[in-house]
Amino acid sequence: MNRLRHLPTLRIRPEDEISIHFRGKIYKGVAGDTIATLLFANGIRIFSRSLKYHRPRGLYSLEGECSNTFMQVDGIPNVCTEKTLARSGMIVKAQNVVGSPEYDLMGFMDKLSWTMPAGFYYWLFHKPAAIWPLAIKQIRKAAGIGNLSPSFEMKGRYDENYLNADVCIIGGGPAGMCAALAASEHDLRVILLESRPWLGGFFDYRSADYTEDLALYERARALANQVEQTSSVRVFKHTSMIGAYNNNLITAFQQGTENDNFTERYIEIRAESVVVATGCIERPLLFENNEKPGVMQVACAHRLARTHGLMVGMAAVFSIGHDLGLEAAIDLHDLGLNVLCVADVRENGQESKLIAKLQERKIPILKGWVAEKAHGGKCLNGVTLTKIAETQKQKFNCDTLVASAGLTPLTGPLALAGATLAYDDHTGFFLPDKLPNKIYTAGRMLGLSDAFAIETSGELAGLRAAADCGTSLKHEIDAAEKELHALPGPVKGSQFVTATRGGKKTFVCFDEDTTLKHINQALELGFDGPELIKRFTSGGTGPGQGGIPGHNLPLYVRQLQDADNKTVKPTNVRPPLASTFLATYAGGGHVMSKHTPVHSSQVKAGGKMERIGVWYRARRFSEDKSAREEIVNVRNNVGLLDASSLGKFRIHGPDALNALQRVYVGDMSKMAPGKVKYTAMCNEDGCIIDDGVVIQDGKNDYYFTTSTNRAGKTVEWIRYHTRYDGWDFHLINLTDAFGVINLAGPNARKVLQKITDADISNDVFPFTGCQELMIESTIPVRAMRLGFVGELSYELHVSSSFMQAVWDLLKENGEEFGIMNFGLEAQNCLRMEKGHLIIGSESEQRTTLHDVGLGHLWFQQKPEAKTVGAFALKETETQKGRLKLVGIKMDDSSRTPKEGSIIVDEKIRGYVCTARYSNSVAESIGMALVEDHLSIPGTHLKIFEDNLGDQRLSATVVTMPFYDPEGKRMKI
């Protein structure tokens, strides 16, 4: 196709040729083409078929408000080709067609549209019930648009930016640019977002006069230069604003160019104030076949020529409702288009200069006329115009119908920010009747049409936004207000909705094939508001969201229901305002995780690392899933466990003891020096949420541990439960500052003694004791004698920076005693043999301290402490019918039940929490929560494992611990 190569407004580089693949052929275009304009240049007019009726669809708006030009590009489905720049080598495929968009075997669906009224699926396919599953298959195949392969791999680099700004301006048209310049003059950090690859908005493609000797596009480029040279304004082009959240958090994404090192970039901006200057899109004109290829909006036809150098067709009829339509008709005529006629829905109010220019060119203008029906097969070949509310008609043969009812402001950003919109009779717009704080609006979206007024409104909004950032700009604001007041105000907009009622193929929503008739049907059924109609007809729920129907649908409903209804609202907009790739939202895909100070040595030792919460921890150190060797070694020699993920805290200050008394069930006031105290925390229902040890380091100065899972929650837990007390204490989370080594096994003392001079004999440092030790006379560690795994063991709390050194020393010196790493699997089995519980494993949401047999930890004589859960602990102490933690022994020791199996008779009576074959006691044993009447030792239990059918496993309730019941081994 011949390009209009020499227009000064072009945004293509005609000398720079590119090519893409489509339908097995190579199509050539030029740099700056979008995929759709490239194909259009090659004569492609039908880009897709519609969802339900498989009607041919073509280029309509260039703004991506509907899925007309959606195609698959390089395996990515639903690419909006009218907004996506073409790059050489792209492989483009049509979607939702059997055949091609031109010859779609599903095209017959259009003839069957009468069988598909609004919500037809609610009345069909369920009688008889047997046909429904078959219908689903067909519905699923027919629905959807693009195809995505489950093995598809998205290419590219995805960046993330988190920015702060004083003023964020959305929209890089004339108003937005003026706002940016005005704000930047006051030493503020300004961010300007523009969705197109260039600044300029609707000035960019227009050759009409700005002043006598400056065209609009020249003015736009001058402004753009000025903005881009202003260092305090950060300009993000090709950046679509997608969300506005509380306190002016603006989200957006930027598409990278060939020169950028990212494919797309997710952006979050926290701004002090925001200016929305997003301009307008066109309001679709509603008439029969209003979406036939060849019908397009004013700016689409105009930009095709002026921006892309493509003449839209040979002969065109215009049916418009705004002066921009007249301007386009004149300009396109001058560029060579045969303009047969211009129908304007307005009886009057047109700019007289434009009318004169039309007359000069002998282009007939029909005021108060509108397109009633588009004719043609797959593409347009004619149009019938009609005089509004009368019967006169005229038919024209043409290949292009430029159709637009007027303008619709892009108020999405305002709506997301919390503005309420109300219908304005003068402009015919839904305008904000109340703006949220620190949000301003400017430009053509207010109904302004005069170029100076648009720019001044931008300047005013920019000043107001700047004033929010702490500068007093009263004088400047007053001046700008005065200036704006002197300029032409909002122009009268078209009130026109639709000439004919009940159009069978008058599409309110292109994506969903929703017609005026469907809306009538929905109203008849009782769906009497736009939101309900939207839901029922699905109009506005497709990829373009409210882009096409957002304002037409409520206005049409209003016209049918009650023309004076002032409460009519546009249908809801929801983020993202522009559809956004999940790849872009996901961004860099950073994984938040923590490694313990000895992580690498765990991995090196063959540790099978698993993610436990935020931590990576070693489950075992061999392929043997039962970790038998590690278990045996702890029982017989000595083992080493990295327990660094334990929560570790210091609490100190005058009310530290009060705080501990509040959250711990035990009596924290009586702590023996050099001793640890094992205790637990409950929630308000008396349910156990944490256990750990507490050590007193001094008066009102304590060190305590929590389970791994609770480490992140403990500070807030304590703060929350002391929030009304005004207590003075300091709480320090030391979890990451210290690592923990559990040295356990009969040889533990021998190993430890080799690297410390301290007397660690059982007499000096007995079970439940706590000491500060020096390792190799240099490294201080806090050592505790605990017995979680049931052997002589030392829990060593070491500064993270010394962890590796202490770990290596223990490994080295333990070699002669058979030291080996052990992991979580071994620990789990070892502690189970001792009947020690892990919270979350042997307890659940409804398990109280009593239920797990730890009621003895509860000190009742401290009512003044108002211990969290104490009230419930009293209430539930003797309550019947609760699940209790018991030990179980399998009757057949070769059969260990899978964890999570249930204990049953005719009902479910409990479940197996943990079960293992124990080498130490040569039995299959476990811990289970069972109803209290079954918790007595000696009770026989029946266990149902998944897929056991009628079979049951049998077990007997036994007392715990299973191993070393007197607990001698940990006290040696």
Binding site: I136, A143, I145, P150, M154, T251, E268, G589, Q845, D946
Partner: protein
């Protein structure tokens, strides 16, 4: 269906008295109204809806249905609820579009597998089809899954529950409204309940923005606002925290996900609607909140989680997100009670974000409760008093924390 369309529910004048007033034109309220009329010939019933029917959770959920709950108190109700969709479709003569695609719930740790086994064994024990599957079987069900060990949380296995699926949520709202209206129930939209009057510990009337209604019984089925209605109008505090929960959909695609898929570790669930969109949601915002605002954090989180689980989805776009309110109880099981603490006061609330699945069948039993005054056995475990007695239901294994104290 091709002639002139008749209204599905008529606009009726608000009468001065009704036998029963139902607060909330959501699924639970409409279902109860329908069954009061159908099973107990109680047709003198008003459903009072502040906005339009299905405005709240009914129209904001992701339409997933299943019967693989954790406890034996919940299982029978959910099983009957799941079996109910085809029956109700026929009954209402309105296609509720139950798509029986099955649900796959993924486990990413040994502990999660154990938790799933408890659900699987409990379901099997109740005659509900549910199976543990290994990672390869997961991949066979959902080819888009990444079952390698590369992701943050590799897949250890899953629970496959074939009887589950999705139902068209709006269809249920409209079908029930149509059915109830046909039997004589009045549905008053754009009508707000402003007060409830009590005399001698008995409900006597309900005040609305369109006038007072005398009635001996009222059902609180106000969803996210149920606790507020209960407290502000009757002074009864319910153990309910209200949290915002968000969901979103992608552009429509040809069939890609043949089952509902969910993952606790990633906090994500997803299903493909019959229209082809991937509808996804997950956990609630972590603090109590009555707004239905979405957040920037959440949609990003959802994209991160979904693309870790199913990397091909990077090439799809989100096109819409929204939020609803979840009325959460401390044990993540609902409160269904009646004539307590006031005679004639019924509650069907605290359904959180799982109120869709069993809405219809719950309506049937709440109708029985309201018509006879006797609590059906199946609802007894859900009484309000369980909280007074610290007897939580254990519907989730983990301790639930909604308040800012977590």
């Amino acid at each position: 269906m091709f002639g002139k369309f008749k209204r599905l529910w008529a606009k009726q004048p608000l009468k001065k008295s009704y036998d029963a007033v139902i607060i909330g034109g959501g699924l639970h309220g409409l279902a109860t109204a329908f069954f009061l009329a159908r099973n107990y010939a109680m047709t003198d019933v008003a459903v009072i809806e502040k906005r339009y029917i299905g405005y709240g959770g009914a129209g904001r959920n992701t339409a997933i249905v299943r019967a693989n709950q954790r406890t034996q108190e919940n299982l029978p109700l959910y099983k009957e609820g799941l079996d109910f969709w085809p029956i109700l479709t026929k009954e209402l003569d309105f296609n509720l579009m139950f798509y029986n695609c099955g649900n796959l719930n993924l486990a990413h740790s040994e502990a999660a597998l154990k938790a799933l086994r408890l659900q699987v064994t409990s379901a099997q024990f109740h005659g509900i089809n549910s199976q543990l599957v290994d990672p390869k079987e997961c991949k066979a069900l959902i080819p888009a899954l990444d079952i390698s060990d590369r992701p943050t949380y590799p897949i250890f296995g899953g629970m496959y529950h074939p009887p589950g699926g999705i139902v068209r949520h709006d269809a249920v709202v409209w079908g029930l409204a149509k059915g109830a209206a046909k039997l004589g129930v009045h549905i008053h939209q754009q009508t707000e309940v402003t007060g409830i009057e009590v005399e001698n510990q008995k409900i006597v009337s309900v005040d609305t923005s369109n006038g007072k209604i005398s009635t001996p019984r009222v059902l609180n089925a106000a969803g996210g606002y149920s606790a507020a209605v209960s407290y502000h109008m009757l002074g009864i505090r319910l153990p309910i925290s209200v949290l915002t929960i968000q969901a979103m959909v992608t552009h429509p695609l040809k069939p890609l996900l043949n089952h509902v898929v969910s993952s606790g570790a990633y906090h994500v669930y997803a299903n493909q609607t019959l229209k082809g969109e991937i509808a996804t949601g997950s956990h609630m915002d972590p603090w109590p909140n009555y707004t239905t605002q979405t957040s920037a954090y959440y949609i990003k989180h959802q994209a991160e989680a979904l693309t870790k689980l199913m990397p091909c989805l990077k090439g799809v776009k989100f096109m819409r997100s929204w939020a609803g309110l979840a009325d959460m109880t401390p044990d993540m099981a609902p409160i269904m009670d009646g004539n307590y603490p006031l005679e004639g006061y019924y509650m069907d609330c605290g359904w959180g974000y799982f109120g869709f699945k069993s809405s219809a069948v719950t309506g049937k039993y709440m109708a029985q409760f309201m018509a006879t005054g006797e609590c059906p056995d199946i609802l007894k475990p859900f009484e309000l008093r369980r909280f007074e007695h610290h007897r939580l239901m254990g519907e989730t294994p983990a301790v639930v924390e909604y308040s800012p104290n977590n």
